[in-house]
């Protein structure tokens, strides 16, 4: 087994980490599992494709796509989550499931259902030598970006006032409201941020995985598993679980391909049955 496999695992884990952080944030605050997260990721990827095939720089897409997704997130929050607060979480989850179906299809209507490769920016399109192995530089960017995002997010949640509000509101929405925290505003920030992170993951993934019509659906299940295993609502837990799952999946493919594909499910089942709060969860 070579080091490149480990790095691939880290790269996948990195993408999952970015994706799952957003999902965990939204779940922690709203209690809703956003089934459209995969579609948001897909939208980000397709926006990157659109940008690069129109001649815009990839770096620009890296900034614009998350912003665009943040707008979509705002629409989700204002249009749906806010008005469905009285409904059960499952019902709202089902609505997001419907949104995913619609969004998935709209993307295909706009961009067609072929798979399109997206080229990485020229500057980092080569390979770098990492501990003696030649490894695609672009994927190192993914890992690096995820690491930066993780640190920044955790620091921001811990140290900023908004971060404090988010953590408080996630913990106890009612009390936070009474204490003067504008839960609606915090919600909006969280959902926009979560969507933006999904978009960011999509942009980063585009050169790695190419854009394809099934990408939203295929990553959704994995990221749901990551969030549940990591501890529902816990961003840190999701991050750890993401790395773990990325590594396990890639390396499992090398060692025991038959079994590897079952590992995420086995992990999910084990966690939900024996430790429903997940690895680092604050609540079930």
């Amino acid at each position: 087994m070579n080091f490149a496999q480990v790095l691939n695992g880290l790269a996948l884990g990195a993408l999952l980490m970015i994706l799952s952080s957003g999902l965990a944030l939204i779940y922690g605050l709203r209690g809703v599992m956003n089934f459209s997260h995969g579609a948001l990721y897909m939208l980000g990827a397709y926006l990157a494709y659109e940008a690069t095939s129109s001649g815009l720089s990839f770096w620009l897409a890296l900034i614009l796509a998350p912003l665009g997704l943040a707008v979509v997130g705002a629409m989700l929050e204002l249009g749906f989550f806010r008005n469905l607060q009285q409904r059960s979480h499952i019902e709202t989850g089902l609505v997001t499931f419907g949104i995913a179906l619609v969004l998935n299809r709209l993307i295909i209507i706009v961009w067609g259902d072929d798979t399109h490769p997206v080229s990485a920016p020229k500057a980092i399109d080569g390979t770098t030598s990492v501990f003696g192995t030649a490894y695609p530089t672009y994927r190192l960017l993914i890992i690096g970006a995820a690491a930066v995002m993780a640190v920044a997010l955790v620091l921001w949640l811990r140290n900023s006032r908004v971060g404090l509000h988010i953590r408080a509101a996630s913990h106890d929405t009612e009390t936070s409201g009474i204490l003067g925290i504008n839960v609606d505003r915090v919600s909006l920030i969280v959902v926009c941020l979560g969507a933006a992170l999904a978009g960011l993951a999509g942009v980063l993934a585009a050169p790695y995985f190419s854009v394809s019509p099934g990408m939203g659906q295929s990553i959704l299940i994995t990221v749901l598993i990551v969030v549940v295993v990591g501890g529902i609502g816990s961003v840190g837990g999701a991050m750890i679980a993401a790395l773990l799952l990325g590594l396990v999946q890639i390396m499992g493919n090398v060692w025991l391909p038959s079994v590897a594909v079952l590992v995420p499910y086995a992990l999910l089942i084990a966690v939900l049955l024996w430790r429903p709060t997940g690895i680092a969860g604050k609540r079930v």
Binding site: L84, H89, I90, F97, I221, A266, L268, I269, P276
Partner: protein
Amino acid sequence: MSSTAPTVVTTTDDPAVAPPRGDGAPGRREGRVAVGLERRAVLRALAVAVVILVAGLFVPDLITSSYYMGVAADGVVLGIMAAGIGFLAHRSGLISLGHTAFYGGSAYGVAIFTTHWGWSPTTAAVVAVIGGTLLAVAIGSLVIRITGFGFLMLTLAFGQALYALSTLTSLRDVTGAFDGISVVFSGESQKVAGLTQAQLGAPDTFWPLAWVCLVLVVLGLWLVGRSRFGVTLEAIRENEERARFSGYNTYLPRLGAFAISGFCASIAGVLFALKASYVSPDVLGFQLAGDSLVATIVGGFTILIGPVVGALLYIYAQGRFGDTGNLELYMGLALIVVVIFLPGGVVGFVTDRVVRLRARLWRGRKGAGS
């Protein structure tokens, strides 16, 4: 999910049950009928079922287009699975994304038993249904302790794990991996319920088998829902703590409901395999899991036939929009609209309107008469 949609207005015909009311309402009440299955209600239901059963057998004569006949047949098969999903959702409040495990599992069972093991198709069908139900008991025993989102994820995980197994190249000899398995009838008796494989494959000759199964399944679910077991389930769904504090253990009843719904899905899976004569991983896939759940919800599961209607709508839409690929779009929109605005689903909405219309007419008549 909203389950306080008014049930169909019923008569309480047991004199000991209905105390005199002063407002002149002639014994008609909304709300649940007394515990247990009263003889008269059951016999009446059986009579209705027989009538519907016989009437339905004439459908192939009414539908001349073989395209629409195919839609009806496929819709009924999916409807049986959807009825099971809906039963679980309504009686236990549990939403499942994993019933494909039992549907696909028994479908594969039929294929493996007939093609690889050479069993007669009838034996294969029966054993596959039993096997699917046992699988439901096995999976249920683990997942039924968890509710809500955890339950959804667990059923999804089990269902998709089975899908993954069906695609493994290492198991190609058994499952055919992505290529699937054809169902080859062999053995002495190559008929199921008197139908040859060719007849099973043709919608209008397949129809009687599917229709009979549907009517029996719906009748069975109705009886279970009205039985004491059904009342227990409802109590557990409504106020689990109170149910436990009233002396009811919640594990076994829930497991029973899960097994029953798995049984329905197994029957549907077997019917599918017999009709299509070909089984592939699609019967276990996430697409079908999601689609069948959406069909159940859009149809509405507060009423037993809601999911069946939803399934028929889905199959119809699949034919209509499948080529353009916009099926998912409309499904998504339908799901959003139904969840937000029509908690009882399409069927629940319609029956609700009918009930209200009747009530208004009755009141109108009463007012005009007095």
